[in-house]
Symmetry: C2
Subunit: 212 residues, 2 copies
């Protein structure tokens, strides 16, 4: 596991994001086009060839393994390879996480053709991915690290593709456990309810008084 610190300030981080984000967005758009295209077979083959040429150029200088998570000198996290929120990862819709007035984490996400399960509807597993991530952010709101112990998702209504809203908050903390809940909604309808238990790792727990 590597959490890397890079000696840059947040302004430089923003500049770097603004360089790479248009490329990631372009790949998201390409990915949608590949799902929906009906051009002749020969053009599909040409497109694949062009894509491979771009990839080859990008691979001339690249990090060895996955992206990991980097932190700026002011400890702002850059989870740029993340499949839910990563600004370098075209798998991510991406979800942008906001903090509501009451401290809840919330997000408005637009889900297109790439996130379809049953025809016209959001894949249940995509709802699970986004909720798992947002509940994790809500669990981390107090600054204590924790990992998902378990999560239960209840699918109460189908979510049509398009704009969905997510919300999550920590309901209570008991010993090393954080109890977190959230929802995914479409318009006024709650489509998925989530409840999770996050566990604070032993090394991050407050020291308990020992009996003498």
């Amino acid at each position: 596991m590597s959490f890397r610190f890079v000696d840059i300030d947040d302004a430089e981080m923003t500049r770097r994001r603004e360089v790479v984000e248009p490329l990631t967005d372009a790949v998201r758009d390409l990915l949608d086009a590949v799902i929906r295209t009906e051009v002749p077979d020969s053009e599909i083959a040409d497109a694949a060839e062009s894509v491979r040429a771009v990839t080859e150029r990008l691979r001339r200088v690249q990090r060895d393994g996955p992206y990991g998570v980097e932190y700026t000198r002011t400890r702002t996290g850059m989870p740029w390879g993340n499949p839910a929120v990563g600004v370098r990862n075209a798998v991510a819709p991406p979800m942008r996480v906001d903090v509501a007035d009451d401290g809840s984490r919330c997000s408005e996400v637009n889900l297109g053709a790439a996130y379809e399960g049953p025809p016209g509807l959001v894949h249940g597993g995509v709802s699970a991915l986004l909720l798992d991530h947002l509940l994790g952010e809500a669990a981390g709101a107090d600054g204590t690290p924790s990992f998902t112990g378990s999560i239960t998702l209840r699918y109460v209504a189908a979510a049509p593709l398009g704009t969905v809203h997510l919300r999550a908050r920590t309901d209570r903390i008991s010993g090393p456990k954080k109890f977190v809940s959230g929802t995914l909604s479409s318009g006024d309808d709650v489509c998925v309810e989530a409840d999770a238990v996050f566990v604070i790792p032993r090394w991050a727990r407050p020291t308990e008084p020992t009996a003498t």
Copy 2:
């Protein structure tokens, strides 16, 4: 919702898959390169421009909305836009589903940089996406349609990026409910356990005898 039938046989379906799959694979590889590249900023901008040109060509002829699910004349499903298994969708790793001797559904999936949560580890939400999908396939093994009612995931060990194995099966059916369970493993270690209830929609339930 649209389940479309297309008047082709399975040989033609295979031919069409072999045309589009290399393009999807090329986009998967590009997506990985965008996460990991360290080429100079000017080359990032050039790459984005090249990607946009490919997208524009593919969009000259395209279906209006998302892909939906198509069926061949022999009722083979083509969920090609699906984010877990879709052969046109670069979001999908993709997961290929096999049927084990005992009727379980299983899959070996290779998860690279695009599926990373904590550094070096599979994002918990990606495990949820893949398990949700595989449990759905196991629930559908008897041919009766059903939708996810609820799913619980227990994260018992961290799953490193790389090859993971998934398995799922229907344990019992009681009235309109199917109880399905599964696991995601890395090597010999079970990393995530899943239990779900799938619900058979009213229109697909066997007619019950009525009291006279």
